[in-house]
Point group: C2
Chain length 355, copies 2
DNA sequence: CTGAAAGCGCTTACAG
DNA sequence: CTGAAAGCGCTTACAG
C-alpha cells in the first residue's frame, strides 16, 4: 500500500531484474548465477558472495514461468487413499484432479492408488511400491500402524516428498493437510449446546473405522464442550456402527421408536443414514440432528430440515493442497513444512449453497 | 480417475503436444498456428480449419508458462475502494496484494485508488482518470448511482476489463465478486432463531452507508427468516447508526440500561462496538448477539463469549479474486463472466481459528 | 495470407 | 571453478 488518499499512483516502470542483470552486475556468466541461486556448489566463495550481494542489491526475484519452461524433468507423485464413503472421497478426488491439471504443464504426473476397503497391509504394499518405483512425491491418508510409520520414514529417507492428508500419523512427513478433528468435534458440541432444548436427552452415533483415529477425536471434542455448556442434557447412549451406514439407520429407527431421544450427534458422513431414519419416521421437526461432512444426500436432508447443522472439512481443498504442497516442494526450492488445517465449516440450510 | 482397484498405474509417457507439433502436423509455420489459436485473423479459412483439426486431434493444450514468458506487454489495473472500517478493508487489501505479487511476474501492475470517506463524486473522478489513463483493468467497489454505472459502462466500451467487488452495481462489468448479502442476512436470521430463548425481545442495529445497498439487504434477509421461524420473538426496534460505531455503542448502552432486550442483531462490522457496550455492562451471558464480519476486535469478543455468532464474507478472497479475474481476462483469452459469491461463513468460538 | 527469425528468463549439458 | 551455447514453448515484429 504505497498510496496516499486521493493521490494518483505513479506508473513507475521499475524494470524487472533478470538473471542476466545479475550476471552482468557481478561480472560473471549466468550459469554461475544459477549455481549460487540453487546452491549447486562448484562456485568459489569469493564469486559466490559477489553474486549474492548483487542479487540482494538489485532485488532480484526469480521468474517462475521461465524456470518451469527451462526445467525439463518429469516428476511423479503417488496419491494413496481409499474410497469408502464414496460421496466424500469424490470431493477429495476432484481437488486432486484440479492440482493435477494445474501442474501437468510443469511436468508433474500423478498416479492414484485407491483402496476400496481399509487395509493396512494393502497400504503398506503401495508405499513399498512407491519406494521401489522411486516416486518423487507421495500424498497419503495414512492408517495408524507402526509399520506404516516406518515405511513412510523410509520413503522420506530416500528423498521422497511425503505429505499426509485427511488423517495423520507420526512420521517425518513434510506436513499434514486436513481438519483438526478434536476442534471440529468441539464446534459440533457447542452448536448442539446452542440448539438443543432444555433437558434434552441425546445419543451419539459414531462409526468405528480401523486405522483412522480422527473420528474418535471428534467425539472427544464434542463431549468436552457439551458437558461444560449443557449440564442439563442427558446422554442416553453412545452407539458404534459400521462405516456403511446400514447399521446406523437401523439403530436410529430403534431409538426413535423407543421415543426417548431429542437430539442426535453423528461423528461423520454417516449422518446421512441417520437422517434418512429420522425422515422416514417423520420426526424431523422434533429431533435436533448435528453431523459432519457435506454430500449431496446430506444437502438434501439439510434442505428438508432433517439435519439442523453439519460440519464441513473442505475435502476438495484437502486433495488439492496435499498435491500442491508436494509440487511446490519439487518445483521450487522452498518446502512448506507447516501443517495446513482446513476450515471447520458450519453449514445450515441458508448458507448451503454459498461455500 | 483412470485407476482400478489395486492396479498399478502405467507410467504412460504421453508426450506433451506443443505448438510445434501442431505446425508440423498441419504443414504450416507456428506463427500461423498462433494466429488461429488467438483468432488474430489473416489466415485463410482452409488452413484455419486444417490447423483447428490438428489441434483437436492431437489434444493440444497451450503452455501457460511459455506464453507468459513470450508476452512482453505490461498491463495496468486500477483498484478503487474505500477504507472506512479499517480492520475490514485491510483484509481485502491483503488479498489484493497477494494477487498483485502472484501476477507481477506476468507483467501486471496494480495501482490503488483508496478513498477514506465514501463519495460518489470522488469515485467518479477516479473512474474518469482510469479511462483517460487507459488502464487495462478496473476492480471497483461501486457506489449506487446512475453516474457511476454510466462511467463504468464507458470504461467497458473502451475495452477495459471491469470487475465489481464487495458491492455490486448494474453495468456491463465482467462479473461481481463478493457476498450474497440477502442470503447472508437470512443465515444470520436462522442462527438467531436457533439460539434465542423463547419469547425473546430483540433489536436490530444497522448502519446507514450511502451508496452501499448490501447492508440493507442483510436486514431484509434476516427479517424474512426470523419472522417465519420465530413468531414468538418480539421486535423491540430497529436502530440506524453511523458507520463509525460510536453511535452504536451509545445506543446499545441505553438499550441495555432500559433492560428490555434479550437479543441483538447487528448487520455489519459495527457489531464490535455493540459488543463493547454489552461487555462493559457485563451482560454478555444474558444477551444473544449475532453480527457480521471478523476483525481482531470481533475475535476478542467471540473469545470472551460476548458475541455468539458472526457471519464472515471472506474479505481476503474478495480482494484476491477481483484482481485475479481481471488478470485472467487480460492474460488468457477466456473471460470468466460468472459472478463469484464468497462463502457465508458461520463463526463461533470453537472454529474461530480454523478458517 | 504466411513463414522464418529473434527473444522472453531460466536451466542444462558441455567444454574448458 | 567458470562461461558460452542450446533449448524449453510461445509471441512478436518483419519480410515476403
Amino acid at each position: 500500500m504505497n498510496e496516499r488518499e486521493g493521490a494518483y499512483p505513479q506508473g513507475k516502470m521499475n524494470k524487472i531484474v533478470t538473471i542476466n542483470d545479475i550476471a552482468e552486475a557481478a561480472g560473471v556468466g549466468k550459469g554461475t548465477v544459477d549455481r549460487v541461486l540453487h546452491n549447486r556448489g562448484r562456485v568459489s566463495e569469493e564469486t559466490r558472495e559477489k553474486v549474492l550481494r548483487c542479487i540482494k542489491e538489485l532485488g532480484y526475484k526469480p521468474n517462475v514461468a521461465a524456470r518451469m519452461l527451462a526445467k525439463r524433468n518429469v516428476y511423479r507423485i503417488a496419491v494413496v487413499y481409499h474410497n469408502t464413503e464414496r460421496d466424500f472421497w469424490e470431493q477429495v478426488e476432484s481437488g486432486i484432479s484440479r492440482a493435477e491439471e494445474e501442474y501437468r504443464q510443469m511436468g508433474i504426473v500423478v498416479d492414484r492408488y485407491i483402496i476400496s476397503k481399509i487395509s493396512i497391509e494393502k497400504q503398506l504394499e503401495f508405499i513399498e511400491h512407491a519406494i521401489r518405483e522411486k516416486y518423487d512425491g507421495l500424498a497419503i491418508v495414512p492408517y495408524s500402524s507402526a509399520s506404516i510409520s516406518d515405511a513412510l520414514n523410509r520413503a522420506v529417507s530416500q528423498g521422497m516428498k511425503v505429505v499426509t492428508f485427511n488423517n495423520d500419523e507420526a512420521c517425518r512427513r513434510l506436513c499434514y493437510v486436513g481438519q483438526d478433528s478434536l476442534q471440529s468435534g468441539r464446534t459440533a458440541g457447542r452448536l448442539m449446546g446452542m440448539i438443543a432444548p432444555p433437558n434434552s436427552r441425546y445419543v451419539v452415533i459414531t462409526p468405528v473405522i480401523e486405522g483412522m483415529k480422527g473420528i474418535d477425536q471428534r467425539y472427544e471434542g464434542f463431549k468436552e464442550i457439551l458437558n461444560v455448556c449443557r449440564p442439563d442434557m442427558e446422554l442416553h447412549g453412545v452407539y458404534n456402527c459400521r462405516q456403511d451406514g446400514k447399521q446406523a439407520y437401523e439403530r436410529t429407527l430403534e431409538l426413535l421408536d423407543e421415543g426417548s431421544v431429542d437430539a442426535i450427534y453423528v461423528s461423520n458422513v454417516v449422518v446421512s443414514e441417520v437422517a434418512r431414519a429420522v425422515f422416514d419416521r417423520g420426526v424431523q421437526h422434533r429431533i435436533k440432528l448435528v453431523g459432519h461432512d457435506l454430500t449431496d444426500t446430506i444437502k438434501d436432508y439439510i434442505s428438508n430440515d432433517t439435519i439442523d447443522i453439519t460440519i464441513g472439512q473442505e475435502p476438495e481443498i484437502q486433495g488439492y493442497i496435499a498435491v500442491e504442497r508436494i509440487c511446490k516442494a519439487l518445483l521450487q526450492d522452498e518446502e512448506i513444512k507447516t501443517d495446513y488445517y482446513t476450515k471447520i465449516e458450519v453449514v445450515i440450510k441458508e448458507n448451503l449453497a454459498y461455500r
